[in-house]
Each structure stands twice: as structure tokens, then as C-alpha cells.
Symmetry: C2
């Protein structure tokens, strides 16, 4: 089992559970008369009862009588179905939505355990930032566990995690393993990442994977390192190839932000697609628990497991009437029955945009070689909303400068380090982003400590970045010197401080603004922040320059004549 | 994952495996053209290849070309089926058969991993004995892992394990968890056993269970303690009730000695019973690995797993033509291709029968109360060959003594401590054993440090015990002052030093002798040694007296008139 499960078990008073099961002590809570989906056997059993003591299940069976005393809270689930609390095995909670707001949404959906990455916090706030973020996850009405950041990054300044710091994180009870390692980076830089993976396996914790696009020998090589999951497959063939190699596959539903709230819909979708309800529920409960080695404590309704359970009126429809997490009712009759805890972050976590000065438009100028009238430039071309490739374009030089050319679909894109070497920046070119005017920028930029900004004029690019600095993080769309839409993300420059509904509205406004500026993609922010990412091929940008993921090498913006 | 898996992973050079998978280095061995049973997907795939480096699988797929160099040993499995090495999840290897002989038998059957209990060694040789036994399991051609002894015992002298010693054992890479705890003992003595179970879970290792006869609330109470397996169910109902509570069930095939060699027959039987071959193979491979949290290293044919594989000519018949363990061929063409290592045990492990003096017939006399002509005696009655109950019989006193009465089916039975308080003994009565003459004795006696001896005359009982002492352990059948059959077990007084075939012959001779003496059971030795056992209800005997498993209390032989 995962040592993280041991940490949960350490809180369990086995003697008390034993006594409750035997009727020597009374249960705190009992669910009775339920139709129970048993995820261990795949059965749907009627007339079932569950006895709860503290945050644990003490009894499951058909004879709750001996456990029920005058102080036992009895929930009669007659006519309803009882399933284990859902588990979301892969999320990015250090991203936009405040933790307590995400917890509230999870509770409503019947999600009682979340596993989240922490990779976003490390480059901008270091080990102390990760620990602060883990503090935000602790003592919530539901269980939140996390992975340690391996820090795959195209930037040498933010690639890799200090082995001592990793070891401290791996030693924690709330860390289940090492977060997603991107296969290309691992295979390209084994000297850097294999030791971190070995450190994790030595701690008996899991290696989460990211094998988008890998196949054949490369996928086998990645599997040989002990990677045990991938959440990237988008086709049945990709799923099958991974399963055959002993890699667990996590099926995603929707884009980043939707994933958190999408666990229930996933189960729903599986049911709608024809999976037996018991099978579909197992996919989102015990299977996830087993993947992480957490099945001794979560994932099923059985004695000794944490009392995480969902009562649904209809077995084929995952619409909870009551959600029980850690032995307490957290959601009932369409309303929260427990209060997610807002975290008070450390001052350092609220001061991660540390630019030494406001940026000028001139800071985004790209100089051509002296005397040149045309140049060959290496341009990031968006092939889809996320996948890019390198394209070489012949560009005219204007007054010694290389400029955006909206008519040709060419914008500037710059990455500005905000935390590690604050102010260090690189400006390049992106084709296919669609911007006709203005700029969009974000202080969240995958795998780096950068602010990423794209724009067709330098003044709006500077405005967007400076506005983000003023807000201590956020997302901004502007044009003609005017802010069109914005969302402040003051925690780590990554996480907002507004209620979920307001954040959703502002994200929507930002998307509308981006589309008004010409961006054709359904999630312009995701397209923008992925420009710095190390996970998705091929040409990316960071404060150090352009990086081709094929070899991890930095490439110049201007191409020498061959 | 189980920390024991981490210990195995620590030997894995991931970089090398990665390089082999990518074709940058050549494989040591490649199996090609195989029909492969993929236990992860349940598929049967043709044209498959596996590349092996050191003791690990580096590649699995359909394109072995890049891995094969001039020094690669290529095994063409065209027309044959490749399955993962079988795993035997529950054995008692410290019992009769020398380890290296058992390993030889396992190799022949395609068993490449064995998990064994160690409980037999602790009472007779202590922590040092367990460690010596673990030494015998190490560095064998196949993988052998073990559980630490919880020491359930009806004898207070041998009940429980020292927590420090348990912790030292749990810290070892070859210990996967705590050995089988008997549910009645655990529920009756939680103060003694719950801390040992908590210690094990804190080390992220498994709790093996033994829940024979438990059901309903008692089974739930046992499950609530974190017990994750049971190998005792004998009916589909019992299996189902355990599965529903999240307990893994191990299906046995045959009696104790047969279990080790029976893994292949089990798979065979499952296939014969109609399980798809892939499902049946999974039951004896990946399922067992997952139960113990060892699936990252064994149980399937995938990159990064130990190269434990079996080539079988017919998919529906598990008769290996080649067995590969730890990356080496260990069995081929009906012959061993690797040599199991005989262990040189410590002197102390060979001197565990420490009776202070030879016993006299008078040592087994049972005195009646002065002047009594009849007594009411508490007698162990064999209800089956293993299950007993307490029965109260009126017995005549002969010359002040209570004696065996073969005509009534009544024999004497004595337990003689040979290691902890050597010479301490208790003599009682057993009904239903069938002995008409002579005595049978064994220095292996479940859960105790006792020699167990049953007989109808005191002289033969003394002879049997004294002969065992001379042999430093063994099994003896005698009558009329003559040894009829015997088997020496000089290692811990538990394990023999003869080849398997000779041991089998001697066991057969002992069984024949026991039947000649009147014992009707198919395994007289098993019946005898179970008389001291703490696992099977109800009345048992040890050097401290009679013990009723219902409450664990010692009961007197003579019953006071009520």
C-alpha cells in the first residue's frame, strides 16, 4: 500500500471499529435499507447497511441492528443507491480556482477524494510554496492528496527539483507519489529525472506519467522506468497500448478546468455508454484507489475504509442526494452541509510576481541584424489549439525591427520570468494564434516561473504584463491601451480569491475578449499558457528562448542562412 | 506499492532498460514469435516479443528487431504461449521440505515467486531463527518473499512477537507483511495483536488473514482491522462474503504440502472449470501481485517487471517447456537449468529440540484424584480430521491413573515444550483419533514450540518423543517399542534434509504406519500437528494445558462435579 494510506490508517482506532462491528459500541451514523453498489464484486445488493464510527466504516452488511443506539444518526436510504465516494485521480488544484471553492464543487458532485499535482507552485514559490499549498489542501471536508513536482520544464532555471526537497515531500503523508513526468523530457534527460523517479519508488510511492504521443519502443522505454499511469490517451488504441504495458489509464473528460467537476459526469458518461453501473462506479472509485495503493483506506464501502459514500436517488444517474465524506455529511438536499476551509497563505505565497520594474513597450522589441532587410525567423506555429510546430518564415524588417504581422496571422509572444530571475525575458513569434489587435497575458504559464504574453503591439504587451504585476498575478486581455477583461490570481500568481461563479464569469469574459481580439480557440487561456509547457510537442518558449521538445535544445529566433 | 517491491526496484538499472527498449543497447535475452497472454488486458496476442536485460523485462511488443544483437539469446516461441511466472501467495516453507527442494519443484511448475509464512520458526528459534530461515530463501533462482510471524498461539509462552523484533523484520525488503492472524485470537486478544497489525500497516505492508468460520458482524470486525486476505474459504458463499468486504480471497488446492506444487494445477483447474485462460492466468499472477502491492515488479509481462515468464506449448494446459525467472532460464525441456541453493543453517537452528532429559513412560501418566474410581474428563474430540470439540467423558480410574482406552477410541495426547521451557508438558485425552496401538509424534506442532505426541501406551509415547529428540526433530510412528516409520527434520525440528522424493516416500510410510495403528484420516500428520493449532476450532492442547478457542482460556482436564 502507499505510505500515504499508512498515514490515514494511523488515525484509525481499529479497536473501536471492531467493537462497533460487534455491537459492543454504537455507530455514530448508520445508512440503512440501501441498494449498495459493491465495487469489489460488481454486485448491486439490496437491503444493505453501513455503520460509521469517527471517520471510518466499521460495518457493512445486512444487519445494522446491533450497531444502532439512541445517539446513532440513522439515514434511511430506502429506494436509493449507495456508492463509494468518487475519486478524482488527476487534477491541477493550484490553478485559478481557490481550493475551498473547488472543494465545495467536489462535495456537490460526490467527489470525496482528489489527487492534485503541485508542479505549478514550485517554480514560483519553491519548496516553501509547495508546503503552503499542501497546507491549503489539509483539513478539508474531503480528502485531498498530492503529488510532488518533478519539474519537467523547458527552462533550465526551473527544470528539476532539489533532491533533498523532493525527499522531504515524499516523506509526507499527503504526498502519494511523483507528479506527471513528460516522457520526452524523461527520455531526453534521464540523468536529471531518473534519480527523482528512483527516489520516489524507493519511498514506495507512485510515478504518474504523461505519455502523449509515445508509442512502440519509446512507450516501452518509458514504461520500463516504472511509470504507472497516463491520463493523456485520446483513442482506444492509445488506451490499449498503455494497458498492455501495465500502465493504468485515466480517461479525461473535458479540459483542465472542467476535470475537477467532471468526475461525476464521467461516471454518468460511462453509464450512458453502456457500462454496467457497478463497473462505471468502480472506474471512478476502487480502480483509482488501487492505482495509487490507497485501496486499504478509500475506494469502496467496506469495514476499515474511510466513510466516503454517496447516496443517489437513481442508480443510473449520479446526482447525489447525500454525500458523506470522512464520516460526516458534507452535502445534502442540494446544499453543502460542511464548510470548506479557506486557507490563509503565507505572505511569500502572495508575492510571487517580483518584476524589478514596470516593462516598457521597447522591452518587447525584436532587433534584426544590423542592415538586414529580411530575415528568416523560427516561428511557433499552432497546429491545433495546443500542439505547435516549428516553421521558418521570411520576414521583412521594419526600421531595424521584426514586428508582428496580424495580416499574416503573426503575433509576438514573450516569456517573462517573474520569480526565479525576475525580469529575464525572451520575445519570439507565434503564427496561428489569430490575434488581430491587443494582447493577452497570464502569470500562470506551464512548467515555468514566467508570465506569458502574446500580442500584436508592444504597448499592449507591456500593459498586460504590468497589470498582472499590479495584481500580483492574473490573466489580462487588453487592446489599444485599455484592459478588456482580467482575473486576479494573487495566490502564487496562479490561484484566484473570488467565488467560483465569479471566476467562471471572468474567465468567460476573458475568453470573449480573446475571441474579439481574433483568437479562434475555445480556450484561449489554455492555448496561451501551454506555449511554455514541456508536455506537448513541439516548439515552445520560455524566458531562455525557443525550445524544441524533440531534443530539448534552445533554438535561436533568427535562422542562419544555410 | 509494498516497500518490498521498492527493495526489488532498487536493483533495477532503469537507464539500461530504457536504452534496451530504445535499441541503444542489446537485450541479454529475447523471446520472439510468442502468443502472449496479457494479464493486464485479458488479451491473447500473437506475434509478441519480450526483451530482457539483467533480471528485468525491458521491452514487450511486436518489434524485437532493434533489441537483438549478436550476443542476445533468442528463444523462438513460435506456436507456444508465453505467460507471466506464476505466484504462490500463501505457503509454509518452514515445514518438512528443504527450501532448495521446494524451489526445484516450483521451478518445474512455472512458479517464479513464492510468499511464505515464517511462523513455524519463531517459537523454536526466535528472531535469529527467522532471520536464518530468511537467509535460506534469499538468492534462489526464483523470488521468495515472506511474512513476519504474528505468533497466534494457544500457549502464553509462544503467543505474540516482540514488537522490536517485528519492527526489524518489517523493515526488511524480503518481508511483505504480517503473516496470517487467526480471527478468533485477534478478536479475543485485541490488546496483544492490534498493535502488531498497526505496526505492519504503519510500514505500508499487508495483513494476511485467516477467517475460517467467521461471518456477519465478526467477519466485518476482522475486516475493519485492515486484514486484506483470507485463504480459508471453502465455499462460494464464503468467498463472496469476503470479497464484498474488500478482502482478497486465495483459493487453496489440496492440503498443506500439496499447496506449493499446486499453483500450476490451480491454473489448470480454473481453465478446466471454464475460466478463460487469460483470466485463469491472471488469478495466479497479476492478482496475487496486486494483493501484495508487488505489481510494479512482478505478475505481468511488461517493461520494468522482473523477467519471470513461462513458455507453455498449449495455452489451455500449464505444462511449461521453458521457465524464466529473474531473467534466467531455470527450467527447460523437462529439466532444471538452474541450481537451487542449499542453505547452511546456523548451529542454533539445528539444535532446537532441547529436552533436558529423556522422557520416561511415567512422564505421561495422568493421576486421578486420590481415592476416585471414576472421573469426568474434558476430552478433545475430533469432529473432522481437523476440527475438534470439547466432550466430557466419564472414565474409570485404573490403579489411581486415567489411561487410554483404545476400545472406546480414546488415546492420550501430550504436548512437550522443546525450546522455550524445555521439558514442560501436559498430557490430555483425545477421542476419535482411532489409534489402536502405539504412538505417533511430531516436533512440528502448529503455533507452539511443542512436540506433539498421541498414543495408547505411555512407553511408546516416550519412545516416540525420545527418538525425535535424538534426531533433533522429526516425525515418528512406533508401536510395541519399535519404530515403524520416521522422518528426521533436523532444521528447526521442522525441515528435513533429504531430497523431496525421499521425503515424500517417508511421509507415505508414516501415513501407512499411522493407518496401520488405526488412524482413519488421509493425512494423520496434519491431524496430529493441528491439535496444538490456534486457527481451527475448538479444543486444543499445548504444554500449558487444554485451551478452548472460544475464549482462549486454559481448561482443566478433570471437570469438577457440578
Amino acid at each position: 500500500m502507499n505510505p500515504a494510506a499508512s498515514s490515514l490508517v494511523a488515525r484509525r482506532d481499529s479497536r473501536k471499529l471492531m467493537d462497533v462491528a460487534l455491537g459492543r459500541q454504537k455507530a455514530d451514523m448508520a445508512v440503512i435499507n440501501a441498494t449498495l453498489i459493491n465495487v469489489y464484486t460488481g454486485e448491486i445488493l439490496t437491503g444493505q447497511a453501513v455503520g460509521v464510527k469517527d471517520q471510518w466504516i466499521a460495518y457493512a452488511g445486512d444487519d445494522p441492528g446491533p450497531l444502532i443506539g439512541p445517539d446513532t444518526l440513522v439515514l434511511d436510504a430506502a429506494g436509493q443507491t449507495l456508492i463509494p465516494g468518487l475519486i478524482d485521480g488527476h487534477t491541477h488544484m493550484a490553478w485559478i480556482c481557490p481550493v475551498h471553492e473547488a472543494v465545495g464543487a467536489a462535495m456537490a458532485s460526490g467527489t470525496t477524494t482528489i489527487i492534485t499535482e503541485t508542479m505549478e507552485t514550485y517554480p514560483v514559490a519553491g519548496y516553501r510554496g509547495v508546503v503552503d499549498f499542501l497546507g491549503a489542501l489539509a483539513d478539508q471536508p474531503i480528502t485531498i492528496l498530492a503529488t510532488a513536482p518533478p519539474m519537467m520544464s523547458i527552462s533550465q532555471a526551473t527544470a528539476g527539483i532539489d533532491p533533498q526537497e523532493l525527499d522531504s515531500l515524499l516523506g509526507r503523508g499527503d504526498i502519494v507519489g511523483l507528479g506527471e513526468t513528460y516522457w520526452q523530457q524523461v527520455l531526453a534527460q534521464p540523468h536529471r529525472f531518473l534519480p527523482l523517479m528512483a527516489q520516489t519508488l524507493a519511498r514506495s510511492k507512485t510515478l504518474e506519467g504523461h505519455s502523449a504521443g509515445a508509442r512502440g519502443h519509446k512507450l516501452a522505454a518509458y514504461a520500463a522506468l516504472g511509470v504507472s499511469s497516463c491520463h493523456e490517451p485520446t483513442s482506444a488504441d492509445e488506451v490499449l497500448e498503455r494497458l498492455r504495458l501495465g500502465i493504468h489509464v485515466m480517461v479525461r473528460e473535458g479540459s483542465i478546468r472542467r476535470e475537477l467537476e467532471a468526475v461525476a459526469p464521467i461516471v454518468q458518461k460511462a453509464i450512458d455508454l453502456g457500462f454496467a453501473p457497478a463497473r462505471a462506479v468502480a472506474m471512478a472509485t476502487v480502480n483509482v484507489a488501487e492505482h495509487f495503493g490507497l485501496d486499504p483506506v478509500i475506494g469502496g464501502i467496506a469495514p476499515g475504509r474511510q466513510a466516503d459514500m454517496v447516496i443517489v436517488p437513481e442508480p443510473a444517474r449520479i446526482a447525489p442526494s447525500t454525500v458523506i465524506a470522512k464520516g460526516r455529511i458534507v452535502w445534502q438536499k442540494g446544499r453543502p452541509a460542511a464548510k470548506p476551509r479557506p486557507h490563509v497563505y503565507e505572505a511569500a505565497s502572495l508575492a510571487t510576481v517580483r518584476l524589478p520594474r514596470a516593462l516598457d513597450p521597447a522591452d518587447f522589441a525584436i532587433n534584426a541584424p544590423p542592415g538586414a532587410t529580411t530575415v528568416k525567423a523560427r516561428v511557433i506555429e499552432l497546429v491545433t489549439d495546443l500542439v505547435t510546430r516549428e516553421t521558418i518564415l521570411d520576414l521583412k524588417v521594419n526600421c531595424g525591427l521584426i514586428t508582428a504581422d496580424p495580416a499574416r496571422g503573426l503575433a509576438k509572444v514573450a516569456a517573462v520570468d517573474r520569480a526565479v530571475q525576475p525580469g529575464k525575458r525572451f520575445t519570439g513569434l507565434v503564427a496561428g494564434l489569430g490575434l488581430k489587435q491587443g494582447a493577452i497575458a497570464s502569470s500562470g504559464a506551464w512548467d515555468t516561473a514566467d508570465i506569458i504574453v502574446a500580442g500584436v503591439n508592444d504597448a499592449d504587451m507591456a500593459l498586460a504584463v504590468n497589470r498582472i504585476a499590479q495584481m500580483q498575478g492574473g490573466v489580462v486581455a487588453c487592446a489599444g491601451g485599455r484592459i478588456l477583461a482580467e482575473l486576479a490570481l494573487p495566490v502564487f500568481g496562479l490561484i484566484g480569491d473570488l467565488p467560483l461563479a465569479q471566476i467562471a464569469r471572468r474567465l468567460n469574459d476573458l475568453q470573449t475578449a480573446a475571441m474579439d481580439l481574433g483568437v479562434p480557440f475555445r480556450d484561449a487561456l489554455l492555448t496561451l499558457v501551454t506555449l511554455t509547457g514541456a508536455a506537448i510537442p513541439f516548439l515552445r518558449i520560455c524566458e531562455e528562448g525557443l525550445v524544441n521538445l524533440k531534443d530539448g535544445a534552445t533554438a535561436s529566433l533568427l535562422v542562419q542562412a544555410s
